[in-house]
Symmetry: C2
Subunit: 335 residues, 2 copies
């Protein structure tokens, strides 16, 4: 499935590379043969060359094609959203105190917090610069969608951090949070692609819902994979969210189902600083017993079904097929 | 002089207030009667209500009027640049480890670094949202100018931090840095105003140079006021830059003029961790002896003269008068 998007990925990487090379050179013109501002562009190029699946820019291109648009008109918007995504990673890593990202040291560890703040800020600026090169008659619409994305991801991150220290979080709150933090940039990507592809309002609405639903399914699956994934393939430690006491879908669902002493015991265990293998095992066992794992799978299936239904209005069959493949790539991850 | 801009300031504050109120309410819709995301909007409204001279938004409005444009078309761009300016303050304060701003605790002190990072990020998003409401046929031009501003201030801040730890900084480097860090947002402001006011290319070029020159004069004067201002009126401690061992215009000019043992002694004293009143006195005395104070005054006068010359192409005499008043407001600060 991955190979279906190899060409897209190559196109994206090539454009991204030439854009960043040009910007890095430009920044040095401030003084001939200057290394300045090296504290900005060294870490910036480090994070941008760290790989990634390029999920968001691929979605921009697919959404453009789905309505008969030319990839070439959307490529600058595609890399804009990838650059913006990397801004969120750099700043989130500071806030989450993360040591590694994609197997490499995070910027605030390898350099310092100041460098990481500034790299994130610069990435936002650069993302708009690239976006402004998108070829469309409705550049204002594209910019509005993108700006909504910027604002929503910031608010999603704020909610995520607030929920970490709040005792009063329900599944509905969780869904609002992941809609902003995870689903919104996918939605932004597809809306921008659709606008550039000259989709009508109906088309934009459909693909917007499609990508939002895929995004929600994706995040719930991320929570699920934390407890049932194959460690080797998934590349993360099983139970990482449990050890970090994250308010995942599974945790919040368990709280919804349990009551009385069992609920208290579960909350106590989950939120204890205990980080033993045994704690993870006990919690996963409970998740299975009370069918929380099953609930998560049902939710993922429901959002995926909704997403597929949203694709019905797309007449271009090969484009529709590619979007279905895209959902598969995103959701049929190793588990 | 200040009173000439009272009406502008009131208009700006009113629009800013209603925009932020609307956004704060919108953010709460994520959950009915929710206080979320309070970690974002509490500090955001705190910094935005902290006052400030509204220099940049006033310049947007004046530049629009100078070419016959309507203020009403430019007001959303005006508050956009004020919001963006506040983003730079919040993030710079983290990087500079500043405890207070406009007499109040900085966000990263009163809340924490995470809150301050996120508030800055959100402010960028909100600034673009407001900007996209500017009424102009060339919204792309306005957005390009604004995005150049975002990128240049980030790079200016990077250079500023790099120069702090570099032994190899010349006056030319300093000028590149202040052009990016201080002058650029003024330039951005005037260019946006001029575009919205339907200025021709020539007009845009002139007002762009005007504001850049004013910005350079303003920053050099800021350096100068640090050593010659009246403490009460200026509101800062005399010699603050000296105690922070900042590479100001005066310091770099002194290094250019001095040589041999005198130069070594000066560098040694300036960069010593000594923070006595005597150190400040000795350095200010030297600055006077070697005419560094005079050089700074000459530079300010030269940039101001250049700026005034840039205004010659503006035919609207009352608008020109207001821009001259604006330079006065910015430059004839208490000293």
């Amino acid at each position: 499935m991955e190979t279906a998007f190899k060409n897209y990925r190559e196109l994206i990487d090539k454009r991204l590379h030439s854009f960043l090379e040009e910007e890095t050179e430009r920044s040095k013109y401030c003084r001939e043969n200057s290394k300045y501002p090296y504290t900005l562009f060294d870490p910036l190029n480090y994070i941008m060359s760290g790989g990634g699946k390029r999920v968001r820019p691929i979605l921009v291109l697919l959404s453009c094609e789905a309505f008969g648009g030319q990839i070439n008109n959307a490529i600058d918007a595609a890399i804009a959203v990838e650059i913006l995504h990397n801004f969120t990673l750099v700043h989130d890593d500071i806030m989450d105190n993360a040591n590694t990202r994609r197997g490499k040291e995070t910027i605030h560890r390898k350099w310092d917090v100041n460098a990481a703040i500034l790299v994130g800020d610069e990435l936002i600026g650069l993302s708009y610069r690239s976006l402004l090169r998108a070829k469309t008659e409705n550049i204002t619409g594209v910019l509005r969608a993108f700006t909504d994305g910027v604002i929503e991801v910031c608010e999603g991150q704020a909610l995520d951090k607030e929920f970490e220290v709040s005792a009063d979080v329900a599944i509905d709150d969780y869904k609002i949070m992941i809609r902003k933090k995870t689903a919104e940039l996918l939605r932004t990507s597809s809306v921008m692609g659709a606008i550039i592809g000259n989709a009508d309002e109906n088309g934009i609405r459909s693909i917007s819902s499609y990508s939002e639903n895929i995004g929600l399914a994706f995040q719930i699956q991320d929570d699920l994979l934390d407890v049932i994934a194959d460690e080797g393939e998934f590349g993360k430690k099983i139970g990482g969210d449990i050890l970090e006491r994250k308010k995942t879908f599974l945790y919040l669902k368990a709280l919804e189902i349990l009551d009385g002493k069992r609920r208290d015991d579960f909350m106590f265990l989950y939120n204890s600083p205990n980080s033993s293998e045994d704690k993870i095992k006990q919690i996963v066992k409970l998740y299975n017993e009370i069918c929380v794992i099953g609930s998560a799978k049902d939710e993922i299936a429901a959002y995926t079904a909704k997403a597929n239904k949203n694709l019905e209005c797309i007449n271009n069959n090969s484009a529709k097929k590619l979007l279905e493949n895209f959902s598969d790539m995103l959701l049929n991850r190793s588990y």
